[in-house]
Symmetry: C2
């Protein structure tokens, strides 16, 4: 059975990727990261999502925090949604590079064919490491920088929702029975979502446009 490593945050996008990878017939090896994120609660939910999809193994890697982001530094507040096209202070330096690097090492060791990452360049916060240019560049790193790549059986970085809006992602996920009730998106990480951070605003807008109801609770 072909294997896929899935970057699983416990959020809406990555959980949709789990559903897509399952639908495509992969054996699922989700990986999650403890990087001292403010919304560490997502790790508990990631565990539930992994169980829901009957994952073969779920690895949680701990990454030492280097600071510099509102998501990992308790002294920097999470701002409300601004949407001004600037890179927000919630940007975590090199986050997706690190996540993909861990996924890559793991994928090589278990012999996975693909790594799924739920980035979207449509309804997103303006993070540079969510754009197709970044994914293409990282794919090239995989092709030339790993034994698998050099031997001609490179690991494919799969981005099933990169061109989808949040509403389209949700529609896709609902088609594949994605357990959105187990997901969390709020940067503030409370039991109930704040409804005003970038991530909450995009999620609520997505559900509204998809004509569906968000099953999680808001304050």
């Amino acid at each position: 059975m072909k294997k896929a490593v899935i970057l699983l945050s416990g959020g809406l996008d990555s959980t949709t990727c789990m559903a897509v990878a399952k639908h495509e017939g992969y054996e699922l090896y989700p990986v999650s990261f403890d990087y001292n994120q403010r919304h560490k609660r997502e790790l508990e939910l990631a565990k539930e999502v992994a169980a829901y999809f009957d994952a073969k193994e779920h690895r949680v890697f701990t990454i030492q925090n280097v600071g510099g982001s509102a998501l990992t530094d308790p002294s920097i507040d999470v701002p409300e949604y601004e949407g001004d096209g600037e890179i927000p202070i919630t940007y975590v330096p090199a986050r997706n590079v690190l996540f993909l690097s861990y996924a890559l090492g793991y994928a090589e060791v278990i012999g996975a064919e693909a790594i799924f990452i739920g980035v979207s360049a449509v309804d997103f916060s303006g993070y540079p490491d969510c754009r197709p240019e970044f994914i293409d560049a990282f794919q090239q790193v995989v092709n030339v920088g790993t034994a698998a790549g050099v031997k001609g059986n490179s690991i494919k970085i799969e981005t099933p929702i990169i061109n989808l809006s949040k509403a389209e992602t949700i529609k896709l996920g609902l088609k594949y029975d994605t357990p959105y009730h187990l997901t969390t998106s709020c940067y503030n990480g409370g039991e109930k979502a704040c409804g005003v951070c970038d991530s909450c605003v995009l999620r609520l807008k997505g559900f509204k446009e998809a004509g569906a109801e968000d099953p999680v609770a808001y304050v």
Copy 2:
């Protein structure tokens, strides 16, 4: 003062890079990694090298081991030098991708201009992630995947010894007063070097060709 992050293993190549970066006028921010390597002794030596060069800060990141290599799995023996052009079992999946990713996040946070990595594609073990193609691909990841890159002040991956043989590296290092007595290269990680693993064989050959004496002890 301009800042550089230097990947410092405590080995010959990375210590030479410290000397080069110092010579080029950088404030030094070496980073080392504990990835359950067999030769963990190098971390102690890295600390001494950092002190020798009066580094501003020395960070040691712990990376959870995913296995699959003789360097990190005690059940796989380190082979003697073969030099048959194959990728050896000492290859650690995605190692330099991970190392560079940590260095990148750190470099962005401290505002460093450069990351030095002591890869060489001349006298090397055949690891794909030591080749210029890999460095070029990772540079592109930095350019398009980070806030620094997108804002037009990308962090430069510096590879001062990528085209140098081991002998040329040693000659360069001796010119800049590199403390080779503090370095270790042996994969087996003993107090005295084994003299027969890939890394020892390349080192001994390098010193011989450079007409210099290796100051470390061999069994």
